[in-house]
Amino acid sequence: MSALSKVVRSGVQRRWVQTTVITLATAAAVTAGLLGVGLLVASNAPFDHAFGTQHGAHLTVQTASTKATAAQLAATRDADGVAEATGPFPVGQIMLLPPAPPGMPAPDRGSARGPVITVAGRTGPGTGVDRVTLTEGRWAREPGELVLGDGGLLVPVGTTVTLGEGAAAQDVTVVGLARSVSGTADAWTTPAALTALHPPQTGYQMLYRLANADTAAQVTAARQAIAAQLPAGAVSGARSWITVKQEANDQISVFVPFLLAFGGLSLLLSVLIVGTVIAGAVGSTLRRIGVLKALGFTPAQVVRAYVAQALIPAAIGAALGLAAGNLIAVPLLSRTEDLYGTVSLTIAPWVDLAVLAAVLTLVTVTASAAAGRAGRLSAVDALAVGRTPAAHRGQYAARIAARLPLPRPVTLGLARPFSAPVRAAAMVVAIAFGAAAVTLASGLATSLHRIQIAADHTGADLVVAGGPGGAQQQPPPGTGSRPATGPAPESTDPARVTAALEAQDRTGRYLGLHESDATVPGMSGTTRLAEYTDAPGWTGYALVSGRWFTRPGEAVVPTELLRATDSELGDTVTVTTREKTTTFTIVGEVFDPGNNDGLVLTEGGAGFRPDTWQVAVADGTDLGAYAQALGTALDPLGLAVHVEGTGGADELVVIIDALAGLLTLMLVTVAGLGVLNSVVLDVRDRVHDIGIHKALGMTPRQTLTAVLASVALIGLVGGLIGVPAGVWLHGILLPAMGHGAGVELPGVVLSVFGPGQLAVFALGGLVLAAAGAFLPAGWAAKTRTATALRTE
């Protein structure tokens, strides 16, 4: 073993606290960094690859057949910003009835309901824009044949399904399954076959590749140029590839900003810890450095020895972080696999290598900078500095502290940070990181909880709807506010239900609701039209912007619908149900994440008959007894009362909660160890002073108090810096996560911190500092006085 190796090995073994701190700090940085970068790559790569292969549409524009001709739409291929276009294709929105499961009677075409899908008329998968991939079977060749988008309805090739409703319903055979990454349609058939289906809503679809489509603004500019070439109001819907990508990646994308933030925090903390540890190691072993140099070590060898003392534990930590990051990534990446079917469940090897190289390079650079002083010192100076007490700073602070009306061990400790300001500053930063992480994770958990409440709309205590008997039932998890059974019978008189609710003691608030399937131009699939007797804000829906409707004709819609129809508040949206077509003015944007169907909330107009009622009881009401009594009152009307359940926590929320908890624990542990390391160095530097104190009569308890007091100010300041930083990060991160998931978040989700909670977090900095200092404080208290006095 070379002399250098021996020096390095003894350094690593002697300084086990510092070695452990560097190992954990690096592990945390690699884990969080790997997850952040790995998932960022995973969330983009599969979509980008599939989109490129299919020559996907940057922009899909749909027109109503009554407003623009196919020729007019075809002419837009020359519009500004358009690089290539395919179409126009006829499209229609039509109800699809899948076959009954084996052993069940066939559905009644007259009354059965199924999803409304967008069917495009195309002669083949295409060779221009949006080259649809046939995953099974073949393309439709004649009327009566249909190609279904795979991943949606699980209907095998060869199955006969019914398209349309009532007298216009026709049976068609599924001859193929296909995938369009651009999501231009739910199913395809030939143009002639589409015409023969007589869909209730028809139009044309044109698919564009744009010269510049990297930003939403560029896509919007192209859409406006296209719309300008068409008659006014001809564009009934437009869909950007950015929206499609967001929808495709909504679940995985939500992790990316959060993990990158934790990765950044961990990396910065790691740099800080490595820098502090190595600088501390150099500062406390100047005499040893002097001896090494006197024995013939070159400056470069001395620097290498100290850098290696950091790199060895850092490499071990990086290996641990690599393993942890890859393991944690498996359940997250399985979501991407669900979307594309071909994705590996591991982080790309080049990401592993890149993160590893980046972290270790950073450790090397930081350690080299910190160890540079050891290299620059001459042997004589190093020996001299190692023997001579350091220049005394903080005397003014010590003088002031001595006058404070506090026990002397406390005031001795309070003045201590001013004697070693650089070390104290490093501890402040480490604690600030820990406090910021705790604040961020707590805010994140609260926000996610509120998102779940807003997404599930479970503000009501009870739902009154049609059902067997008046017994109360727990709806299955995930059903949200929708009753487990169907709506009230048509014969139900809403006035009698209202009278029963009014007559019931301890009824709080209630409203009536009727939901129907509808179609909205620009939205693929079914849109749910929910008509209310009153604004449903109290049932859990949260507004992102605008206001609730106050009269019929006004509507509130989710962000997805605004994006898909390229609308904003004040615009109108046309909704077509089986019974009617209504145009609403959009007055509010509601938060409705995770719902891929469209949603339009409005107030029922003249003759409105609700068939479901949502009820909140007065505070302190026995819900079971209330439901029993109400059920008895409504039983003659054929209505049932269902007690609302909150359902289980969403898997995504559980994963983010767990990840946030894990990463926070890692950061807090590393921050605590950073404090421990600094206090160990401080105690080692001051051991002679501690001996003097003890010789003068300082008891072990007083020694413990003095050391703990020496980090009190540091903990407090760290908390006061870290908590606002955590709040600030939360304010940046949450909207970014929302954007990742394609939703705008309401204020109730973003404003989650109360002053009391923040004060507790700030005091948490104190606790973290005390926890980190406790062990070395104990060592100081136990140090034998005679030994301490002999220590130079």
């Binding site: 005394h392 005397q395 026990p407 003045a415 003068l696 009569g697 300082m698 072990p700």
Partner: protein, 230 residues
Amino acid sequence: MTEALIDLRGVSRRYDSGPPALDDVSLTVAPGEAVAILGPSGSGKSTLLNLIAGLDKPTTGTVTVGGTRIDELGEARAARYRRATIGMVFQFFNLLDDLTVFDNVVLPAQLAGAGRGETTRRATELLRGLGIDRHARAYPGRLSGGERQRVAVARALMNRPALLLADEPTGALDTASGAEVRRLLTELHADGQTIVLVTHDRTLAQECATRTIEVVDGRIAADSALAPLR
């Protein structure tokens, strides 16, 4: 017969597997005595002082000071014992460089929880008595060696200890400063202060001590109160 202030019986102190630092030492010191412990380096005299101060514990034997078995005390009670009974003066002063002279002197009283007014009065009186009151707000690093040692003596006397222990109090001083400290210790003894000092300095022993004990290889080789033992 006056009860002994210090009573060591059969005290040995052994570190690791080497020869004992102290080997079966017994001695008593009466109140008001000034005892100088002499001996070459490594003879065990500082170990003896540390045992009396409660900074170290004997491997065997008993150490009783002021009627209290020091060798049986835990760390906390030993600290309280030092506060109440012992004042210590070290060769290299052991002043805290980040505290002013005044703050160094009052520290033992503050650790004992004494009142601010009483502490200030006592410190002022000591600093004036030792002729260093003009340095009260200065830091030790700016004082001469003799002045620093006087500050150390003031600090040692702050809690009015029954016993003053001094470990080579003139060892780090020039001749003039050494003479100052010798004079100071003599005056203290004249005022009735019990003193045990460890020194190489025979002049110091002759001037300040009423009794000398010579330690060689961990054993008491001579005790002037008992006549030579060899």
